[in-house]
Symmetry: C2
Subunit: 415 residues, 2 copies
């Protein structure tokens, strides 16, 4: 088999602590979704290819993993979660209570050129409210998004907001031709990464006269926040979000074509990897995709970047380990005693591992705990058995004490 | 798009309560894996096709979803979790602490003929211990498997155990030719679904003389449980499993070729959908697959069947709903009051939904709660605001009471 015993480029294994950290973050996010009463949704990895093709332009089509299945059907791997959700809404519209609030956390696949931070398989985390135009929906989406970062401990989150409708109006009144609106938006969207000159140059390459481009940028910069955005922010504030985290950003454009109202993007100032997600209102997309006339607003949270930010800012607890304690086995004759102790700890909900091979020396068992980052070890030798106690060793400090088993639980859990 | 706005045959959407029930079961299972100190593992959906092909025979090969990716590589969707785990062990062997105890819960894809209970995409739940021949590993695997069913509330679980080594010895001594051992095992494995006569007929078709077949079956039936199996069961007992759940089943064979020692299968007697999972020791497989000489023992839990059994036996709590309470909005002017109440409940970790559209009549809001199975509704009208109370309505009984907000929490959570 040779060189095939390896992961495909752009794909990742999550082993040990990396897998545990992901589980930690997934749980945090799910907790918040559920606290807000959002329902989980799961859709298949494969869909009819024709459902996916032509929805996001020809560039996106090239990134779809499509193939012919054994029954001769053209099928494709999930490219995003929006299209499958649209299909679900179309198929189940009579069963769903509206507004439908769902969250979805599944892998998507894109045949993109792999590079740092860009993978061919990654987890998307989306939440959307489908079926209401009430602006409290925008406010709730912002609140939900912010609440996730509070839950993770990333309190420094900043959210840039803008209104796509205002942006388009400005573009129209400045004299941008209708057929160039979206390509201009894509260029303007680069203003947080590129200089104004570079953006003006790109606009020029797209056929926008330099006077028009100049006037457009200065009009955008002097734009005042609209009454609607103010109301949304003030509602979000009453829902518990600190007002300071919001910045009105009249040049924020978001790449995707389909937004029709409020748009936003999240940033962690200390984290240099870029935006950690964003979203907005898209009232016409479901009609376009599946002929269902329902307004919608939602976000996609950047899972990999959020995890990276949480790691860099030390928000992932170091105790994200599977077992908190390893019960060692002193000798084959004392196996039963160790099993008894492990049972007691598990019964009391302490994540516990027992060393399975009583033939191995204690030294080797301690090394095992060390390699697996298990913070505590329990040793029960003949001396301990006689006195009905156990030896509890803290693997970080090296401290050890002989105590009653019942005392162990609080020592272990309080770490 | 027409008929493509639908799920592919053999694939499933999980919407609303179905998705919530799956989350409930996944959490239960993960809780137990973690209590035993097992590490999560995630591998990519796609692997090199050559890694997967030829490992489980030509029949299995036909079920693999393989295709050429955009870079001209032959790739294939995950068919099981054993081969990716073997690859991980080969790639990361220097980093992994042995024994490596991992669990993996990911989707697999098989281009099988869809039928009742058989899908083309389904979740596999595996746990394995890799790197020790100690029989306490068999005992722990049995204990872990049983503990999951206890956690779910499926206490009636029965486990059939046998030893593949003993079975093969019996086959050899009864005169089954070496090259027919595995095909005979596959026939014997059908003894719990087919009659003895049918099994004898099938053995005949496979070229086993009727005298030999007869003698084989009677030898198997009179087989006594080996000392090793007795030890394993007694160890599992000391780990907390009730001895009564085990049955020695000398004709239990398990379909897969690779087992080398203890094998087992789980059943819920009241559930008629068949075995809910099983596993065993496979000491030679990793050498065959990836040239790594490590012994292993593990199980695969049948997720769909286990969920079906839990539903049939009423073990899935009816309150597996996302929000426990809907805070209604009496009128646009009172929106802030409702938001305040929702904030308070969420802050106190009560999964809470707020009705977003203050223009909609209360009646419609109550219907929404009903359709979504939300058990409680809170109403805050002008009267309540004045007295600083809320109206809490139990949607099942129809009872409602006017109480202070702080009292609500216990009423809601105690249901």
């Amino acid at each position: 088999m040779g060189d095939q015993i390896q992961t495909l480029k752009g794909f990742r294994d999550f082993v040990g602590s990396q897998a545990r950290k992901r589980k930690w973050l997934i749980k945090k996010i799910e907790t918040v979704f559920e606290r807000f009463g959002y329902e989980p949704l799961e859709t298949p990895a494969l869909e009819y290819e024709s459902l996916l093709l032509g929805k996001y332009g020809t560039e996106a089509d090239k990134l779809i993993y499509g193939f012919e299945d054994r029954g001769g059907r053209r099928v494709a791997l999930r490219y995003d979660q929006t299209i499958p959700t649209a299909r679900v809404i179309s198929e189940y519209q009579n069963q769903l209570a509206l507004p439908y609030k769902r969250y979805q956390m599944q892998q998507v696949w894109r045949a993109d050129k792999p590079q740092k931070g860009r993978y061919r398989e990654f987890l998307q985390c989306d939440a959307d409210i489908i079926g209401t135009t009430a602006i409290s929906a925008e406010a709730e989406i912002l609140t939900l998004y912010a609440a996730i970062y509070t839950e993770i401990g990333l309190d420094s989150l900043k959210i840039k907001v803008n209104d796509r409708e205002d942006l388009i109006k400005t573009l129209e009144t400045t004299g941008i031709p209708l057929d160039k609106i979206f390509t201009v938006i894509q260029t303007i969207d680069k203003l947080d990464k590129k200089s104004k000159d570079e953006v003006r140059d790109e606009l020029g390459q797209k056929g926008i006269e330099s006077e028009v481009a100049k006037s457009l940028l200065s009009t955008l910069e002097s734009q005042k926040v609209s009454e609607k955005l103010q109301k949304i922010i003030s509602l979000a504030e009453s829902m518990g979000v600190k007002k300071e985290i919001f910045t009105f950003s009249p040049t924020l454009a978001r790449g995707l074509d389909y937004y029709t109202g409020m748009i936003f993007e999240g940033f962690i100032p200390e984290y240099k990897g870029g935006s950690v997600g964003g979203g907005g209102r898209y009232d016409k997309l479901l009609k376009q995709l599946v002929e269902v006339e329902l307004p919608a607003v939602g976000f996609g949270l950047g899972f990999d970047r959020t995890l990276e930010a949480a790691e860099q800012l030390d928000k992932v607890p170091s105790l994200v380990t599977t077992a908190l304690v390893l019960v060692t086995v002193f000798s084959p004759e004392l196996t039963d005693k160790s099993i008894e102790v492990a049972n007691y700890l598990r019964y009391n909900k302490v994540p516990t591992e027992i060393y399975l091979d009583s033939e191995k020396k204690l030294d080797r068992q301690l090394k095992y705990a060390n390699k697996k980052d298990i913070p505590f070890v329990i040793i029960i030798g003949p001396e301990e058995v006689g006195k009905n106690i156990v030896k509890l060793k803290d693997m970080r400090s090296g401290d050890q004490k002989s105590i009653e088993l019942s005392e162990c639980i609080s020592s272990i859990l309080s770490r």
